[in-house]
Symmetry: C2
Subunit: 166 residues, 2 copies
DNA sequence: TGCCTAGAGTTGTCGCGTCAACTTCTGGCG
DNA sequence: CGCCAGAAGTTGACGCGACAACTCTAGGCA
């Protein structure tokens, strides 16, 4: 018996409902954050990371590392957020950008949003979950991440798992 | 004891690894599809849906229904894919667009991609999964979808779960 | 007949995310 | 010192996804 060349129907069923769950969940959390606090989940991720940085000010590369985001993604996100005055970038005397911090507006946004967002995660994610389901998902998630990062390793990529938040 | 206002550390841990798994998985599948078959997962979804439609030709609204996508999303996707000559739109005599079908190029792309994609799903998703984890995830996914769709129902939205594929 | 509403489909705009290319700085080594 | 590799950061281009606004048409009904 060679490996089956396609998935079994019940595997497709699982795959589809998982994809669906994942998509709806992300969309719902994003919408709620937008509606209730006026920020997106990408913005929220950046704001939280800055907020819990001890010094309150990070370099782009530290943000990228901490979020496990590509540095160019961080740069684009920061220019959008700088336009919205949620963060500010500081420059050294030569004009080189060298640090990112919260503005007053950014700080209050994240401090307002964080509890509501946690509530939403609990409501949509955890309240649909029994403890053994939680355990199963946790084990499996880590294994998926490990396997993919192992494959990335073959390509000499590096992605430290750190704190993705969203 | 009121409800806790934030998540427990182990809940954050689970949440983070789940989000991470979900993101890496989607990205990896997308990259593989792109590299091996030259199509994105959005394109793949559309092609598969058209491919398994009995008549081989669908209306935009049927595609949207079947994919559980917004109709405007479908329209945008189709114009990109029409430019790449993966699909073609047929018009009635008044020039109104009235049907979408596969081109020869689209058909061969999807027929090549489908087995490889199923393999990738198996490799990344199912091989990291024990049967009881699979069951747990399946139950939970459906519950998440139900809960969110119930909430959407309150807003008089409709989203028939049908066949999301990716 | 003429109106009028509901649905189908498109378009524009914007934020997110990836990739590749580019500049500028920095540190090491001859 | 001068050079050069590599890291830090930005930019541009492009596809994806959501939302709102628009056109057009078919069907119903006076």
């Amino acid at each position: 018996m060679a490996k089956p060349r396609t998935l079994e129907p019940e595997q497709w069923e699982l795959w589809n409902s998982w994809m669906q769950a994942q998509r709806l969940l992300a969309r719902e959390l994003d919408r709620d954050l937008q509606r209730d606090y006026g920020i997106s989940k990408a913005e929220f991720s950046v704001l939280v990371t800055l907020h819990r940085a001890a010094e309150g000010r990070l370099r782009v590369s530290e943000l990228a590392e901490s979020l496990a985001w590509d540095k160019s993604r961080v740069a684009h996100q920061l220019t959008r957020m700088e336009n919205r005055e949620l963060v500010d970038r500081t420059e050294d005397r030569s004009g080189r950008r060298v640090g990112v911090g919260l503005t007053a507006k950014g700080r209050s946004a994240v401090e307002n949003a964080i509890l509501g967002h946690a509530d939403n995660i609990r409501r949509y994610f955890f309240e649909a979950l029994t403890p053994d389901q939680a355990a199963a998902i946790h084990v499996w998630s880590r294994r998926v991440v490990d396997r993919i990062e192992a494959r990335c390793g073959e390509r000499a990529d590096q992605l430290d798992a750190n704190q993705p938040i969203m």
